[in-house]
Amino acid sequence: MSELQPPVGTGPLAKREARLAWGLLFPTISAVALVVVLPLLAIFWISVKPVELGDLRAPEVVQREDIRGNAAAVGDTPSIRYRLRNSSQDQPITGVTLSDVIPEGLVVQDLDPRCGLTDRALACDFGDWEPGTRETLMIPVTVEQAYLDNDLRPQDSPATTTGKSSNVLTNSTFTLDNFARIFNGDEFMEVLWVTLFYTVFGTIGALLVGLFAALLLNKSFKGQGILRGLYLFPYVAPVIAVAFAWLILFDPFSGSANALLIQMGVTSQAINFFGERPLALIMVTIFEIWRYFPLSFLFILARMQSIDTDMYEAADMDGASPFQQFWYLSVPQLLGILSVLFLLRFIWTFNKFDDIFLLTGGNAGTRTLTVNVYEQAFAISNIGAGAAVAVVIFACLLTFSLFFLKYISREEGL
């Protein structure tokens, strides 16, 4: 009697299951590849290209067509006029052509040497254009009865133009200027320092405040649900609404916070909370803590409520005081969630853009790496430099992620 062996390798059922799994995942994978992976690759490409904001629109032939002179009676001799130009002031266009249809009843008298006419189809070849070239093409015609009879006017048949231009995004010019520019000078060190301060203190602050809030609400009493909902408000509200509310609350001229501080005698003149150098950075960090403590609070509270109460009863019997219970029982239980939250929040705070952008616009010493991307790409209109900063961010994140994956693999749940 032969011994029964478990099947070796993947059977047909397992294969079918795997196929189905990939089929179900396919839409997600393709969408993510299209919108996340492709842009990430693009960032690397752009970061070594000398691209300015204005280069995004490829140079093209701009043309306008009208009819000059009288064309009201048979025998009139107006001209059809084409005005053309190169839309770019610094890029050539090669192989510029124009083609159009002359309306019935207009007889072409004279033709520019660069153009040809077959039947009523006009075709012109202008060759290569230097940056900023302008051309005016006049075609004198005589009016016949047929033109007056039908309604077709020269403008009604739009002329088509063609021309090739090299796009700086796709050509083979590469440069390292972008990186040289962003790493240059003290500015980069300051950006790095601001990012570090904001990320570290924002993360730790939000965690501690969230822990405190969770401790407050970790008992059932009337109104606990209401308070929990209330404490989540900062996280749920649109960032733009709360950021502007903060700006108005702390406004140096008509803000209530300043009025209150002056009246309480804390300060004698209004403080420009979001406009002074060290203070602005502290304020945006506080805003970050305020806005994200609900998230840590929620997770910590959920973890606390899943801790067995028997343990605390036993500790009570043994005479452990409340602080001892917290320190020796709760904290070790919460350590897992706290470290997960710390890593997640650390990366998310590092990535945060909207908050600082809305509060200070990156001024007064609050420019973090992410704000710097926007600043370089749109304020200074140097897309290439913005992409270079993005590459730096990506490198930092990769480092964090490696660390994260290595560490998190020990954590259950995530």
């Binding site: 299209l34 752009i46 407050l216 209330l230 749920v236 709360v242 992620s401």
Partner: protein, 402 residues
């Protein structure tokens, strides 16, 4: 050393008095617009005395009444924990003094419960400290959460002149009646906020449906089906969520500029779901894993195909999770600012957040800016408060277990 009743009582009393007098002073200032301010040193002194009274004399109703009266009187005389400016009316002063007296008497007595003049054991001492911290925590959190939102609503109901006149005055003049809502009316009639609101709503709802359409099959595959790379896949989902939006926004902006998708509804609807699919997938797969596989296997045995199992068994069972994921995705899409700001320039296609950003100019009064903020905040708050149970569950259950 600190665990002596007389010391604990006076120190906690002093600190608690500071908390209460700051709270009452801020409340009175905001409520009346008159100058009220806490005197820190006087607060410490009177608080210590009140704490001492509760520890040595007792905490019954009579002592509480005595403390309340004494504090109220010293405040009125002008040597109490809270100082009042001359401009304040007599009613406001009496009201403030009484409020402070009652607040301190009724709150300090329970905090110092169990505290006796002699040595305290750890339980008694830490109990008092914890009650003090708890009280402080409730006041602190409620204040920091409510004040910005209250400022938002109040500013939206006041015109520039009223705001400049006394920034401290948080009261709302209800006698104006409907004129109070002038800025809201103008936003809807002149600034197209009705359209923006519709746009936001439409885009958010579409985002929810598209996200679910992508995430449900994906989450099911990751949670239930066995295939090579399953573990790696479920982990890398979160990694996608780690990529900062601004890094993606730059190439997307370039691509959209060159293809003409910028300034179009569909461009936004194409991008939003992709930002939410990873997190939705992650939350759903956590939930799917918790469902009993036996029910699905029974369905398979009875001849249902996998897809039919998902449709007829898994989805009906996971309705609560779908609700919370939808709510969360809706919230992300509704609140999204960066992409809307970068990709939309045409005022007829603005979302609410983009519309508010366009109100942020020196020519438009801030009343309108705040009214716009309120308009964007209220629907999401209402939705959130109504479905809070789903929201908190969805946020925590999917991502962190045990």
């Amino acid at each position: 050393m600190i665990r002596r009743g007389y010391l604990t009582g006076t120190v906690i009393g002093a600190l608690w008095m500071v908390v209460v007098s700051v709270t009452v002073a801020v409340c009175m200032s905001f409520g009346t617009g008159d100058p009220f301010r806490p005197g820190i040193l006087l607060s410490l002194l009177w608080g210590a005395l009140a704490g001492g009274a509760f520890v040595f004399v007792g905490r019954n109703k009579l002592v509480q009444l005595g403390v309340a009266v004494v504090i109220a009187v010293v405040v009125l005389v002008g040597i109490g924990p809270m100082l009042t400016g001359m401009q304040a009316g007599i009613t406001a002063r009496v009201f403030g003094a009484t409020a402070l007296g009652i607040a301190i008497a009724t709150s300090l007595a329970p905090i110092l419960n169990e505290v006796v003049p002699g040595p305290l054991n750890r339980h008694e001492f830490e109990g008092a400290v914890i009650r003090f911290l708890t009280g402080f925590g409730y006041i602190f959190f409620t204040a920091i959460v409510l004040i910005p939102f209250y400022v938002m609503v109040m500013t939206s109901l006041k015109n520039q002149a009223e705001l400049m006149q006394n920034p401290l005055d948080f009261s709302i003049d209800l006698s104006q009646g409907a004129a109070l809502f002038r800025s809201y009316d103008e936003l809807f009639t002149q600034f197209n906020f009705g359209t923006y609101m519709f746009n936001s709503f439409f885009i958010s709802v579409l985002t929810v449906f598209i996200t679910l359409a992508f995430a449900i099959p994906g989450a099911y595959a990751v949670a239930r089906l066995r295939f090579r790379g399953q573990a790696a896949f479920s982990r890398s989902i979160l990694l996608i969520y780690m990529v900062p939006m601004i890094v993606l926004a730059l190439p997307i902006y370039i691509a959209f500029s060159m293809t003409g998708l910028r300034n179009s509804f569909w461009g936004i609807v194409m991008i939003y779901p992709v930002t939410t699919i990873p997190v939705a997938l992650y939350m759903l797969q956590g939930y799917f894993r918790g469902l009993p596989a036996e029910v699905e296997e029974a369905g398979l045995m009875d001849g249902l195909s996998r897809l039919a199992v998902i449709w007829k068994i898994t989805l009906p069972l996971s309705l609560p999770a779908l609700a919370s994921v939808s709510l969360y995705v809706f919230m992300i899409a509704w609140n999204e600012f960066l992409l809307a700001f970068m990709l939309l320039d045409d005022p007829s296609k603005f979302t609410l957040t983009r519309g508010i950003a366009s109100l942020n100019s020196s020519e438009i009064p801030r009343q309108h800016l705040m009214a716009g903020s309120v308009i964007a905040t209220v629907p999401i708050m209402a939705l959130f408060l109504g479905l809070e149970r789903f929201m908190t569950k969805g946020l925590t259950a999917g991502s962190v277990k045990g």
